[in-house]
């Protein structure tokens, strides 16, 4: 097979920068080259390598839905060298993008079922892609519920979209902030995500749970879902291991013999249980 250099990124123009929360921004990116755009497609759950030329690459999910064509969005927190450089980019500037990489959420197999998304903090972006995808295919699913928590009211991302989901009749949104993170105006719940899940128990019948959050949230959420009667095949998550290449070579994301970047990042819970606890 004739190999090609997989590390050459697409050039993408930042159409819009949205401030989401302290140190968290969303970029809306458009392909500079229309030919690149024409051959590009992705599915919910995939990710890419975003880069600032001269600073390096960083891994984030594609946070927009594949049903919205012509652009992709990514949401990131400013943590290191590359994300700091990205955060300094203005609308109109060019960044690099390689992808899409990784497997996808098997959304077609969820048709006719209820969906509950359980997520916290900066883990909403990887699920936002799935949520909008599901909303754009709304008649394919029964009830859609989103349980989303953050440390404080200020730390909630996609505040405008949360307000939109809150006002829509076809999606139920439960928002919560950690105790002490609420403001006097806060109308949502107060408490950690697992506690609020117990307070608002979803039926496990015909329901798919999509869980993504910090390790401690996942660790405490799964036993509650088990207690509610969810079996392993009804629970999905996406792993966010450190990655460099995105194509199963650099070794950073390895968990057992799995390269999370190509064998994942989406795992059904029973598949996840087969891996060593190195995520």
């Amino acid at each position: 097979m004739e190999a090609k250099n997989m590390y050459i990124p697409y050039q993408m123009r930042i159409e819009k920068v949205t401030y989401e929360a302290p140190q968290i921004k969303t970029f809306k990116l458009k392909f500079v080259n229309p030919e690149d755009e024409a051959k590009f497609s992705f599915k919910a759950g995939q990710f890419g390598e975003y880069s600032v030329f001269g600073e390096g690459e960083s891994t984030f999910c594609i946070a927009s839905s594949p049903t919205r064509k012509g652009y992709i969005e990514c949401t990131f927190r400013e943590v290191g060298r590359v994300t700091a450089a990205l955060a300094n980019c203005e609308e109109g500037s060019i960044v690099g993008f390689r992808g899409p990489y990784g497997n996808t959420f098997p959304m077609e197999s969820w048709f006719g079922k209820n969906l509950i998304f359980i997520t916290g903090g900066i883990a909403l972006p990887p699920l936002r892609c799935v949520i909008w995808n599901a909303l754009d295919w709304r008649d394919k699913f029964k009830d859609i519920t989103v349980l989303y928590g953050a440390r404080t009211v200020d730390d909630l991302v996609y505040k405008h979209e949360l307000a939109e989901w809150d006002s829509r009749k076809d999606i139920k949104l439960i928002q919560t902030v950690d105790p002490g993170g609420n403001t006097p105006e806060w109308k949502g719940e107060v408490g950690f995500v697992p506690t609020i899940l117990e307070k608002n128990p979803p039926s496990s019948k015909d329901t798919i749970a999509i869980v993504c959050g910090p390790p401690i949230m996942i660790k405490l959420t799964l036993p509650i879902l088990m207690k509610l009667g969810f079996n392993h095949e009804q629970i999905f998550t996406t792993l966010e291991n450190r990655m460099k290449c995105g194509i199963g070579k650099c070794g950073h994301c390895m968990v057992g013999n799995n390269y999370v970047c190509k064998d994942g990042p989406v795992y059904r819970y029973d598949e996840l249980l087969k891996l060593p606890l190195e995520y």
């Binding site: 190999a3 390096g56 460099k244 070579k249 013999n257 190195e278």
Partner: protein, 334 residues
């Protein structure tokens, strides 16, 4: 397989002719008491007095640092250029175990999502192994399924027959092309028994026991016991002929820059650290376990072969005196 012989005193002429044909020749040269693959001006700079080169020729296919791309700043965008690899190289004097390692690396990098840079380098390089007449206490090729007689992964395999000539096994088409280019130097030969000339490396453990057992001892404390001395320096990965983990970093100037691929190692504490600060392999014993599990378990699951060739370099180089042989014996006994 086809066979030839080459008079040992014709080797300088062979190298000269290869160089005149525009290729680079890399052969072992001494630096202190260690041998490194290097270019040379005259034949007497080459050494034949080494059990094992300090570094494998891995870096010929997969350099320590290499350009993935270069870019120039334009007014509104970037012009991105891919590296073009055209240099033709001949590596002489690697040990047969390194050939097996190159074979593994090629499988790993080329079978799925093939890596163009590695493929180009492989196409442009001819690897000539020189079968071992000596071994030391750290050699254990015969314990991991190979031997000094192995030819897999080499293009040509030379054996000094002790009678003033090399027995040359032509393993690949690339090797044949090189031999065919110099018909006056190589003479036709029948298959010979070379094993008598080669080192008799003792078997240290039973590989089958290890590969069967290693998936079952993941949760035991042998990893901690064996890695207490580990300082996480990553030297074992640096000298390992099959270790292939890397990092990607950018370097730039006001006009443009390069995106570089550089060797990395799972022994480093930051190798797996998440942006949140959470580290899935938190302590050194986790990292050591990953290294050994990768070589003797994950590689078998993914590529149907172990990824250790018994070259012994990790043992020779470890500043803490750790030995993979001792460790594998502890797996066998666990």
């Amino acid at each position: 397989m086809n066979y030839k012989t080459l008079k040992t005193d014709k080797l300088p002429e062979l190298f000269d002719k290869i160089k005149k044909a525009g290729k680079t020749v890399l052969a072992p040269r001494k630096k202190g008491n260690k041998a490194f693959f290097s270019t040379f001006d005259s034949f007497d700079q080459i050494t034949f007095d080494y059990v094992q080169s300090a570094l494998s020729p891995k870096s010929v296919l997969f350099p320590r640092v290499e350009e993935l791309l270069t870019y120039k700043n334009l007014d509104d965008s970037y012009s991105i250029k891919e590296p073009e690899l055209k240099d033709e190289v001949v590596v002489f004097g690697m040990r047969p175990c390194d050939g097996i390692a190159l074979d593994y690396l090629s499988d790993f990098f080329l079978k799925e999502n093939p890596d163009k840079l590695l493929q180009d380098r492989k196409n442009n390089t001819t690897f000539i192994s020189l079968a071992c007449k000596k071994f030391d206490n750290d050699c254990f090729c015969t314990s991991v399924g190979s031997s000094p007689a192995e030819t897999k992964g080499s293009d040509l395999c030379f054996t000094d027959m002790g009678n003033g000539s090399y027995y040359v096994e032509i393993v690949t088409d690339k090797g044949k092309k090189l031999v065919d280019a110099f018909p006056d130097l190589f003479a036709d030969s029948k298959e010979m028994n070379k094993v008598e000339q080669l080192a008799k490396v003792p078997v240290r453990f039973d590989l089958k026991n290890i590969t069967t057992k290693i998936p079952t001892v993941f949760e035991t404390n042998i990893w901690l016991d064996q890695s207490l001395a580990c300082i996480g320096c990553g030297a074992c990965a640096y000298v390992c002929p099959t270790c292939s983990c890397f990092d990607i970093q950018d370097e730039c100037n006001p006009k443009g820059g390069t995106r570089l691929r550089c060797w990395d190692a799972c022994a480093f504490g930051q190798f797996t650290i998440h942006a949140s600060g959470h580290n899935p392999r938190e302590v050194q014993s986790n990292r050591w376990r990953n290294r050994v599990q990768h070589k003797f378990n994950y590689s078998v699951e993914n590529l149907n072969t172990i990824s250790c060739v018994g070259c012994g370099r990790c043992i020779r180089v470890c500043p803490a005196g750790m030995s993979i042989i001792e460790h594998l014996i502890s797996v066998e006994e666990a």
